[in-house]
Subunit: 591 residues, 2 copies
C-alpha cells in the first residue's frame, strides 16, 4: 500500500482544518448527490466523510464512482469544514469532511449477504456463520473492547496488590467430583487421555502450598455439559487464591476490585462493604441463593397460619414440615384468569404443583382459595398483610421447604419482570454466605460436597460432620450482582486431619481419595498454609458491564448452544491416519 494513514477515521475535527491527511478504511455508505460523491469511510475508531468532486484531477472521480460498500480504500485529501447545513453533531467527525485528491483501492468486496446494520435482526445462526461480518458492527466491537478493558483493569488491580498471574496446564487430569470433562487422547500413550480443566482449583491450592502467597489468572476452563442458554463449552474465569487469610480478607480485596471496575467501566461509585446475607435468609426471603435485590418483594411465610386449613393440601404440607409461602403484589391486583393461568403453567413447567391465589380487598379476602379461610386465619392474614391495602396474593406450597422456596423465587423474578418492578439503572451487589457444606445425593445415597470436597467447614461445625452432616455450614461465599452469581469461592481445608473427616462425611474411602486427589493430599502434609480464594465468571461479568443480552455477544467466536462452531465448521470427522496414531476406533453404531 502506498497511502499509509496519518490519522484514524475517528479523530479528525475542526482542529485539523486545511491539513493534508491520509485515512484507511472501509466504504460504509456512499451517496451521489448531484454529481458530488460522498463516502463515509469507516474504521474501528469512527466514520469520516470523504468528498469526491467531479472536477478532480485525472480518473479520481471516475474511480471513486466504482467504489461499493465494504471496499477497502486509502484516501488522501485536505480537511475542510462542512457547510453549516451539513454539520452532523451525532458524529465525532461531524464538523469536517475530506476533499479527496488521491485514492488507492486496497481491496474489493463482494456484495454482503446482508447489510451490516440488519445483522442483528437476522438469525443468530447466520451471524455466527459470517462472524467476520457480524464483528464489523460497532456494538460487538465495543463489547469486545469493553471485555479487553475489564481484563486489563483486573490484571492491573491484582498485580498492584502483589498477586502473581501464573498459567496452569490445559492438558491435565480429570477434575474430581465435577461435571463432565473434555478429554484429549494421548498419541504417545495410546489408550490414555488428558482431561481439560473445569477449573484450576487443585493447581491454585498447590501454588499456595508452594508459597506463592497471592495468585490470580484469567483462564479458559472447559466443561462438557449439555448446554443451556448462556453456557459455553469453553468459558473464561478470573481465578484467585490467597494465603494466610480468612473470609474478611477475601471480601476486602474483592470489594475493592468491584469498586474499581464499577468506577472505571461504568463511572458508578458502589458502597462498600457489600452487604452479606446468609444462605438461609436468602432462601427464606427471596427463594434464591442469588437474589435480585433491585426490588424488595419478600416471600411471606404462611406455613404456620395454614396448619389447620380447611384446604387440605395446605394443612397436610404445614403439618408435615413443608413450606407455604406467599408473594403479595398490589400491582397485580387486576390480573386476569388467563394471566394467572400462564403463571401457573410456568410454575408447573419448573416441577411445581401450581399456584394458589386470592385477593386482598381492604379488610376482606376474595376469590381463589379464600373460601377455605376461617375467621382465625383471616385475622392472622390481615395482620400479616396489613401493609398492603389491596393486592393479589400468590401462594406456593410444597412438602420440601427448599423446593417451595425455589419456586417462589422463580415466581418472584417472573412477576417482577412482568410488572416492571426492576429499576434497570440500579446495581445491587451482595454476598451470600453460610452455605450448607453438603447436600444429600439420592442417586448415590450419600452426601456430596455442595462446592467441592476441599471447601472448609465452619470450624464451629466440625463436630456436626459426623453426627448431623446436613447441618454443617461451609466457609463458602458467592458474590451476587442484580440476581447474577458473578463469583464464588471459599476458605479451603489446609489440614490433612480435617480433610480426612470431610472424606468420611462424604463416604469416600482412603484408597478412593488417594486415587482421585493423591498429589493434593500429599501436598497438604508438607506445610500447607491457611488459604482461600474465589473465581469470577468473566464472560458473565463482561456481559453485564457491556449491558449485552447474551454472553455470546461478548465472546469473539462463540459456539452455538449445541456446541457447534458455525464459521470454522467444528467439530469434524478426522482421518483414519489420525485415529490410528491415537489408537482409537469410532464405534460402529449399527452394531
Amino acid at each position: 500500500m502506498n497511502l499509509k494513514r496519518t490519522h484514524t477515521c475517528g479523530e479528525l475535527s475542526s482542529k485539523h482544518l486545511n491539513q493534508s491527511v491520509i485515512l484507511n478504511g472501509w466504504v460504509d455508505d456512499w451517496r451521489d448527490l448531484g454529481g458530488v460523491l460522498f463516502i463515509g469511510l469507516r474504521d474501528r475508531y469512527g466514520v469520516t466523510q470523504i468528498v469526491f468532486e467531479p472536477e478532480s484531477k485525472g480518473d479520481l472521480y471516475q474511480n471513486a464512482k466504482k467504489l461499493r460498500s465494504e471496499f477497502v480504500i486509502a484516501v488522501k485529501g485536505l480537511v475542510r469544514r462542512r457547510p453549516s447545513d451539513a454539520i452532523n453533531p451525532e458524529m465525532k467527525t461531524g464538523d469536517i469532511e475530506i476533499v479527496c485528491s488521491e485514492l488507492e483501492l486496497l481491496n474489493i468486496s463482494k456484495p454482503l449477504p446482508f447489510e451490516l446494520k440488519d445483522y442483528a435482526e437476522k438469525s443468530e445462526e447466520l451471524r455466527l456463520k459470517y462472524r467476520y461480518l457480524d464483528l464489523r458492527r460497532g456494538i460487538l466491537q465495543n463489547n469486545l473492547i469493553m471485555r479487553h478493558k475489564l481484563a486489563q483493569l483486573t490484571r492491573e488491580y491484582f498485580s498492584d496488590l502483589n498477586f502473581v498471574e501464573i498459567e496452569t496446564p490445559v492438558l491435565t487430569k480429570s477434575t474430581p467430583e465435577g461435571a463432565r470433562d473434555f478429554l484429549v487422547p494421548s498419541r504417545m500413550y495410546p489408550g490414555k487421555f488428558y482431561a481439560m480443566p473445569q477449573s484450576p482449583q487443585t493447581y491454585k491450592q498447590i501454588l499456595m502450598i508452594s508459597g506463592f502467597d497471592r495468585y490470580f489468572q484469567i483462564v479458559k476452563c472447559y466443561r462438557d455439559e449439555d448446554l443451556r442458554k448462556d453456557r459455553q463449552p469453553e468459558f473464561t474465569q478470573v481465578d484467585i487464591e490467597m494465603s494466610f487469610v480468612d473470609e474478611e480478607d477475601v471480601f476486602q480485596v474483592m470489594e475493592k476490585y468491584m469498586a474499581r471496575l464499577f468506577e472505571n467501566l461504568l463511572n458508578i461509585v458502589i458502597n462498600t462493604p457489600i452487604p452479606r446475607m446468609s444462605y438461609d435468609q436468602a432462601m427464606e426471603n427471596y427463594g434464591s441463593d442469588k437474589p435480585d435485590l433491585r426490588y424488595d418483594l419478600k416471600i411471606q411465610n404462611l406455613t404456620e397460619i395454614f396448619k389447620d386449613s380447611a384446604f387440605n393440601i395446605f394443612s397436610k404440607i404445614s403439618q408435615e414440615n413443608g413450606f407455604i409461602g406467599a408473594l403479595v403484589l398490589p400491582e397485580a391486583r387486576d390480573y386476569s384468569r388467563k394471566q394467572i393461568d400462564l403463571l401457573n403453567e410456568y410454575i408447573k413447567s419448573l416441577g411445581g404443583a401450581g399456584i394458589a391465589t386470592f385477593i386482598k380487598n381492604d379488610q376482606k379476602f376474595d376469590g381463589g382459595i379464600s373460601k377455605f379461610f376461617n375467621e382465625d386465619e383471616k385475622s392472622r392474614l390481615l395482620s400479616q398483610f396489613k401493609s398492603s391495602k389491596q393486592a393479589m396474593i400468590f401462594v406456593i406450597a410444597d412438602s420440601s421447604i427448599e423446593k417451595a422456596q425455589i419456586l417462589l423465587g422463580y415466581l418472584r423474578q417472573k412477576l417482577a419482570e412482568d410488572l416492571d418492578l426492576i429499576d434497570k439503572n440500579v446495581n445491587v451487589l451482595s454476598w451470600t454466605v453460610d452455605f450448607p457444606l453438603l447436600e444429600f445425593d439420592p442417586e448415590e445415597q450419600r452426601f456430596i460436597a455442595r462446592h467441592h470436597p476441599f471447601t472448609s467447614p465452619k470450624l464451629t461445625d466440625l463436630d456436626l460432620l459426623q453426627n448431623k452432616p446436613e447441618l454443617a455450614r461451609a466457609r463458602a461465599y458467592d458474590l451476587i450482582w442484580n440476581g447474577n452469581e458473578i463469583a464464588g469461592g471459599s476458605i479451603r481445608i489446609h489440614q490433612r486431619e480435617v480433610q480426612e473427616r470431610m472424606f468420611q462425611a462424604l463416604n469416600i474411602s482412603s484408597a478412593e481419595a488417594r486415587e482421585k486427589f493423591g498429589f493434593l493430599l500429599d501436598a497438604l502434609e508438607y506445610g500447607a498454609p491457611p488459604h482461600g480464594g474465589i473465581a469470577f465468571g468473566f464472560d458473565r461479568m463482561a456481559m453485564l458491564f457491556a449491558k449485552a443480552d447474551s454472553i455470546r455477544d461478548v465472546i469473539a467466536f462463540p459456539k452455538t448452544s449445541s456446541a457447534l462452531a458455525l464459521m470454522e465448521n467444528a467439530p469434524t470427522p478426522v482421518s483414519e491416519k489420525q485415529l490410528r496414531e491415537l489408537g482409537l476406533k469410532i464405534k460402529d453404531h449399527s452394531k
Copy 2:
C-alpha cells in the same frame, strides 16, 4: 488463624525498631544456640529471624522447640536491632530480628523428601513429581514472578497502543498445513472431533477482516509433536496482528516493545532500529537463519578456490555447485587430534560427511588436507586468511549448499562455546528477512509453504510463483536474540487473487483449498484490509529474561520431554462409561 500478619517476611528493617509485628510463614531453618532458639521465617518476600528466649512466658519456648523445617507458623513480637556481630548484610532484613512473644502453629510438615536447597541437584523427575516443594525455591519463584512481569509489561505496552486483547477458541478446527493437532472428541457428535489450535493464525486474520485494526493475545497453543528438549505440548505465545501495515510498521512497534522489555526487566538500553540481515546473508555468513551475533566468526567461502583441487571430494563438490566453507580459529591453534575427532563425530551425528582441517602457520599450511594444496590454491588461501597469522582451519563441504552451510553453522556455535568466544553479558538482536517463500518437499513431491500458505510473497516476486517458485521471497521476518528465534511473522496475503496464485504454486486444488481454509477464503472476498503480524515465543522469552537454563524452569507445571505430567499423573486411562459417551473404542493392540 488468630495471628494475621501485619508485615511480610521481607520488609522489616531498622525503620521498624520496637514495633509490635505479626509475621506468617514457613520455618526455613532453626538453630538452638546456647538455649536461645533462632528461627528463619520464610515467605515469598524474604526471610526474617525470629528469636525465642528461654525466659519467655508460659509454654512459648517449649512449643518453639517442637518446630521443624517447613512448619507453618504465625509469630507476634517486637522488632529489635541485632547485636552488631549478628548483622547479616546479605539479607534484606539482616539488621533486625523479632523477639517472639506469641506463637501460633498453623500447620505441621512431614520431613521433606529432600532439603529444598538440594532440589536442583536431584533428578528433574523428582523435582516435577514434588513440584509443590520445588516451587518453594526462591529461584523458581523469581522466574515465575519475572514471567508475570513480562506478561504485564506486554499487555500494558500493546494496550497503550490501542491493541485489543481478544480471546480465540481452544475447541476449534484443524490448523491447515501445520504439525500434528491434539484432538478433542465430541460427545454431542460422536465420531467427530475438535482440534486444539497450534496458533490463532486464522482467527487473527479474521479479526483484521472484521476491522479490529490491532489485536494481540497472550495465548496457549498446542502441538502434538515428538518432543525435543525445550519443547512442550502446550506452549504460550504473544500473538499480534495489525491492519494497514507493511514490514516497517511491524518492525517499529516490535522494536519499541523489545526496548521496553529490556529496559524494564534487565535495565539495559538496546539500540534501535534493530539491524536486519537477509536470509541469504545469514546462511552464507553464519550457517543459520538465527545467527548468534555475540561473536563475529564468519564462514569463509572456499568453493571457488577448490574448483580443481587434487582433493577429489572438494573438486567434485565445487564443480557440481556445492559449497565448501571454512571457519578460521586462531584460538583452536593447538587442538589435539582427539579434540578434532570429537568435532568430527559431532558433525557426522548431524548427518554431515565430516570435517577437514589444516593449520595456518604464518605463510605456510600444515597438516590435515594441506598436502593436497597446489601453489595457486596456497596463494589464494593466504590471501583469503591474511588477517590470521596462525590458526586452525575447519572445512566442511557438501553438494547441497544449504546443508553445508547449516553444518558450518552448528560447528560455529559449538566452537564458540568450547573456546568461550561468547560474551554472556552482551545481548544482540537482529531481524532475519527475505526468507524463501517455498521449499520443496521431496516426500510430497511439491512445494510447501515455509511459513504458512497465507504468507505474502514479495510483490516483486509474484511472477516467479509460476516459473521459478524456488526463487520467490516471502514478506516474512524472524526476530533473533543471541541465536534464539524469539518471534516470527509476516505480511499476509489479503487479496483472493494472490491467494489463488499461491495455492497454484503449492499445487493445492480449489476444492482442497475450500475444504481446508474455507471460511478464511470467504472472508478474503468481503473487504480484507492489508495486514500482517508476528508471534513471540513467550516461554522462551521468559527463559531468556530470567536467565534460566530451560523453559521448564519458567513454567509452573511443565510436562516432561515425553509429555507426562508427573505430579498430577496424566495422561491416564478413562472409564468405559466415558468412552461410550464419546462413541470411541480403544484399539486392541493384540489384534
